[in-house]
């Protein structure tokens, strides 16, 4: 018996990226643009979608909900008569903390791709893993709420750099919080200078129009609108 060294030099995430490309091809063929929406748990992704999708004027939207367990978020979207598919990630050891390309692939047959223009993939709430696993999206957006710390961008630079848009949510709470919005913006600027950011309150509707416009541009096939 002898021992041999084998040179490999291969990105360990290649397998995921290959499947992500296959997903992207399927979406492209159906003329569907895809947004991968990410955030920490509780940043308000689903509430933001509820506030946004009521009135998308001519853009037909579908939603893919990723959660470790349950269908609470998908139920909220379905209540608005928007086509939604729930993916649960609890098959793994303790539950996967993100969607990967293969999970999204498994959901494609259930998605009405011919009847939608825009697919929003609401990823599992987490600021680490979703940034590393592409799922076949055209663009990535993240929601960061003002009830989280101002230093989030410095703690999770990979996530803040992976996004084409940062939506800052819950701004209606600013007056009740000791929150330094300028410091957050400064930290975002340090990690991802010039990334577009939109201030919104999913609760009051402030800023939601701007976010809706961004989505409309993505649906129209515009590359990462500024």
């Amino acid at each position: 018996m002898h021992r041999t060294k084998v040179r490999i030099v291969e990105d360990a995430l290649d397998a995921n990226n290959t499947i992500a490309r296959a997903n992207r091809d399927d979406f492209d063929r159906s003329g569907v643009s895809v947004v991968n929406l990410m955030s920490a748990p509780g940043a308000g992704k689903t509430t933001l979608l509820e506030a946004t999708l009521r009135d998308m004027e001519g853009v037909r939207v579908g939603v893919l909900e990723g959660d470790v367990q349950g269908s609470a978020d998908a139920d909220r979207i379905a209540a608005m008569h928007i086509p939604v598919v729930q993916l649960n990630t609890d098959g793994g050891f303790g539950g996967e903390c993100h969607l990967d390309a293969n999970m999204v692939r498994s959901a494609i047959p259930a998605l009405p791709l011919e009847d939608i223009d825009l697919l929003i993939i609401e990823n599992v709430g987490n600021l680490v893993c979703p940034a590393e696993f592409k799922v076949g999206e055209n663009v990535r957006a993240m929601v960061c709420s003002v009830t989280e710390g101002e230093e989030k961008p410095l703690k999770y630079p990979l996530m803040f750099r992976a996004c084409e848009l940062v939506v800052i949510n819950k701004i209606d709470l600013l007056e009740h919080l000791d929150y330094d919005l300028d410091r957050l913006l400064h930290n975002i600027d340090a990690v991802h200078p010039d990334v577009p950011r939109i201030l919104v309150s999913a609760k009051t509707g402030e800023g939601v129009e701007q976010w809706r416009d961004w989505l409309t541009q993505v649906a129209a096939g515009a590359p990462a609108p500024a």
Binding site: M1, H2, R3, T4, K5, V6, R7, I8, V9, E10, D11, A12, L13, D14, A15, N16, G92, F93, G94, E96, C97, H98, D100, N126, V128, C129, E132, F133, P153, L154, P157, L158, R161, D189, A190, V191, H192, P193, D194
Partner: protein, 120 residues
């Protein structure tokens, strides 16, 4: 906390190249941007490698420092904190030239050891 998924990705990648030979050492190149904790990666690797050719293999990490380059003035630097604006000309047009790696660099395998079965 992402180390479990990363451990799975490592095992999948190595099995493609192991040809059913027993793997004793896996050398990884991991960039500073990846925020990988070795202890945690080893812990999950031991789980995901079970009953595969990788079971019992040691993990070795080559850390790659994050290195940035300004597209405007060609300045290159290694940031100590995540700061992606050129320290020289303040341009935001900055490229990561190293630090995003998550690669299996090489493996060591035992030839002639009783073959083990790679799961599909």
């Amino acid at each position: 906390m992402h180390e479990m998924s990363l451990a799975g990705a490592i095992v999948d990648t190595v099995l493609k190249h192991a040809d059913d030979r027993k793997v004793t050492l896996i050398t990884l190149r991991v960039g500073g941007m990846r925020q990988v904790v070795l202890d945690s990666l080893e812990f999950y690797f031991d789980f995901t490698a079970r009953d595969t050719c990788c079971e019992g293999a040691k993990l070795e990490l080559i850390q790659v420092s994050t290195r940035l380059k300004c597209r405007a003035c060609s300045e290159e630097w290694e940031p100590e904190i995540p700061f992606f604006r050129c320290p020289k000309c303040e341009s935001a047009d900055v490229e990561i030239i190293a630090g995003e790696e998550f690669e299996v660099d090489s493996i060591e395998v035992d030839e002639k050891e009783a073959a083990c079965t790679a799961p599909k």
